[in-house]
Symmetry: C2
Subunit: 459 residues, 2 copies
């Protein structure tokens, strides 16, 4: 694999102050590759390079920097330089940066922007985080339905330098309501004199500003789209979400899922690992470790209250860690499958009983197999002295095996039903899975284990 | 959000045998939307609809069906119908289907295909699973460097109906070595008489057929590409991977990561939840549940061997489940963060010591805080009778707190170092995380816990 190695060449050009070669070089490189290199320089030097570039290219490279680097560079600019740069940025990246700038500085910059940009920023910033509106861009190509293919291509040519994608053009009526879609491919294939309305797709796949950003990203992925149009409540086209932003949303959501599965929760943003300070990780991880440890006190109290049972049949202590682990493992398996299927839209809360029924079957099979193995293990291999007088190894084995079978069955039931119930209540299913579920299974497991021993063996 | 609701209209058209409306209808719908609807019909009826469509559209809709539905439909076709359909499919989907067809049937179909298609299938099928070669398509636009922009657009126009994407065209020399890239946007913006070689990007981002498919997919995502060219060892262009296939690869890898984190491993393909039989889930989940339960026997033996310590200080039983859970939770947190950072390319095995150092700091902070809280809890709130004569509650608290601090520190160390070591050895880091790590921490935790009590308290 090859990613462009620009560092040595760029460094030389900067040192030699060879502006024209520098300009050419940045023009023919991928903006992300230039941004990757610039990130290794101090903010002042980054601006030294960006300053000499043509405004659109400058804004594009700047948009590819990490947001914290963007902020550092922005700090060192004059009000007018910053206003100019912000004007040239793609609308979605611009509003993301703007939201991070301290409010007092925002108030300084806003008056320096043209009215159109100012209103665009205000509008995009007004959508709540997590909605399609908050991640869309307003840089799309819109066409009227009554122009010819030749005219459409000419319009796209004029608008292309400023647009995020020109490969899809959206057809809108006089009130800017979305009525169709033509791809650039369709346009170059069609006879030049044909009307746009005669070649456009009328059944456009779209989403609303208020839709969940993850649902919209999955739609873009499912339909293999380069971009998806976003409309407001009146079906007026207000923006698009592009395939690359959709991919970023899906990756971000996956990181969050994995974090919830591994006891790193809370309303924090997942940052770049190396740059995130130790203190930040401590703050978000410690409450989980300590909170879950606190809950395990309940399991401890249960053991404590069955102390007599435990001391009269010390072989029970042998299988205690296995009992706790098995509940958590089985529950996690089930929850992971169900949550994934929910996220990919393969099942919904409406399938509640079907999913539960399926998981109970899997749980029954695993539980019976594990129970059988444990019964054989205890009956055949219990060491001399482990089984007190008056009890048979086979009966003790049965009590232990029964507890394990019940625990596996219960773990599949809760592992499936808790995420489904959360989803039906519009909560995040991943929150009731992972360590929370494992802790719950520990507590229930201890209860089942000692109760089974006490009842079956009359202890 | 709105996905096209085609079912009622399509059903009516099929019942009325209204072929021409059906043809029109399918032409202006998204192929995936048509495929979604067709999936609800029996294989024979699916073919009844596809049969009347124009071959390219037929193949495109067919490619959007799930692979098991594709196979069912393929079963019901004559050799010639199937050969025709396979010829018209996109090369990457075609080879995926072909690999699923039983070998004896493959041998029947191959002679019915044109030589070009036959060789294309053989070539694409020859790349090992998991490589860029195995997921690329051979439907790309290639241009020579010495033609004009006008000629280039004309060529794209001619090739467009058969190409997966026409938005990037790859410039190759007379030996088909990759030397540049032009986007359709650049072409429509450039003066028509300019030469392709004068406007092309020369620093093309590319990958090799042997590169890992996940790395390539992440590259497409990082650089916001619509497609990435794939070259062989001689830099000859052999295929492209498009953004939508990259998104599918990333989602597939997400699913596999989550499965490894939740004890669902093994070389199985993640299928659609509702369609995957109970037996399949049993086969892949039972070995994990039972294997991990087996390993917990080691924890059991450790408790067994410290039986005297346990019975002389029964308060230890209270904190036993907490000890096991804390090791697993802390280890999982760390491993999840490190594995995610590895997957996103934020850290690599070269950062081994930096990552370990960072995690040890987080572990130390969490360990000290948890230890302090436990020491206070035991010293101040130990019930009468829990602390045997000759021992102070504060000393018992110290022994327990020390064990927990050490356990948290060890969990962050192993949670970070095992995935990094796996990555350095080119193994999958996710395999040494999740339940495997939790089980290891259970075993180590029991050792640390009872040793600490025995040594500090002289039991």
């Amino acid at each position: 694999m090859k990613t462009p190695l620009v560092a040595p060449e760029l460094r030389e050009l900067i040192q030699r102050h060879d502006i024209s070669t520098l300009q050419d070089f940045c023009k023919f490189m991928h903006p992300m590759a230039v941004a990757d290199y610039l990130s290794t320089l101090p903010p002042h030097d980054i601006w030294e390079v960006l300053r000499v570039l043509e405004p659109n290219l400058r804004a594009e490279i700047f948009s590819n920097l990490d947001e914290d680097v963007q902020l550092e560079v922005a700090e060192s600019l004059t009000r007018d330089e910053l206003a100019q740069l912000i004007s040239d940025m793609p609308p979605d990246d611009r509003v993301d940066l703007f939201k991070k700038i301290p409010p007092e500085k925002q108030d300084l910059i806003l008056p320096a922007l043209a009215k159109a940009e100012r209103e665009d920023i205000r509008k995009l910033a007004s959508y709540p985080e997590g909605t399609a509106g908050s991640v869309m861009t307003s840089d799309y190509v819109a066409l009227p339905p009554d122009i010819t293919v030749r005219e459409a291509i000419e319009r796209i040519r004029l608008e292309a330098p400023d647009r995020e994608t020109v490969y899809y053009a959206y057809v809108v009526d006089e009130k800017r309501r979305l009525i169709g879609l033509v791809s650039l491919k369709d346009l170059i294939l069609a006879p030049p004199h044909k009307l746009v309305k005669d070649i456009m797709y009328r059944d456009v796949i779209y989403a609303r500003v208020t839709d969940d950003q993850e649902d919209v990203a999955r739609m873009i992925q499912r339909y293999d789209l380069i971009a998806l149009p976003i409309v407001n409540g009146d079906n007026v086209l207000v923006g698009i979400i592009t395939h690359d932003d959709a991919a970023d949303i899906i990756t971000q959501e996956h990181t969050e899922d994995l974090e919830k599965f591994t006891a790193i929760g809370g309303p924090h943003e997942a940052g770049v690992y190396m740059k995130t300070p130790v203190w930040h990780y401590f703050r978000y991880r410690a409450p989980w470790v300590i909170g879950l440890a606190g809950l395990e006190l309940i399991s401890g109290f249960i053991i404590h209250s069955f102390e007599e049972t435990l001391s009269s049949l010390i072989i029970l202590a042998m299988y205690l860690p296995m009992m706790a682990a098995t509940g958590g493992n089985t529950g996690s398996q089930t929850a992971a499958l169900v949550i994934r299927a929910l996220a990919l839209g393969e099942v919904s809360a409406r399938n509640f009983f079907k999913v539960i029924f399926k998981e109970l079957q899997v749980g029954l099979l695993i539980g019976l197999l594990l129970g059988l193995l444990l019964w054989l293990k205890v009956s055949l291999f219990a060491q001399y002295g482990q089984i007190p007088a008056g009890l048979s190894a086979s009966k003790v084995g049965f009590a232990i095996a029964l507890a394990f079978s019940l625990q596996v069955l219960l773990a599949t039931f809760l592992g499936a039903s808790l995420p489904l119930a959360a989803s039906a209540l519009k909560l995040d299913p991943a929150f009731v899975a992972g360590p929370t579920l494992a802790t719950l299974m520990d507590i229930l497991g201890m209860l089942i284990y000692f109760s089974s021993a006490k009842i079956i063996l009359n202890l």
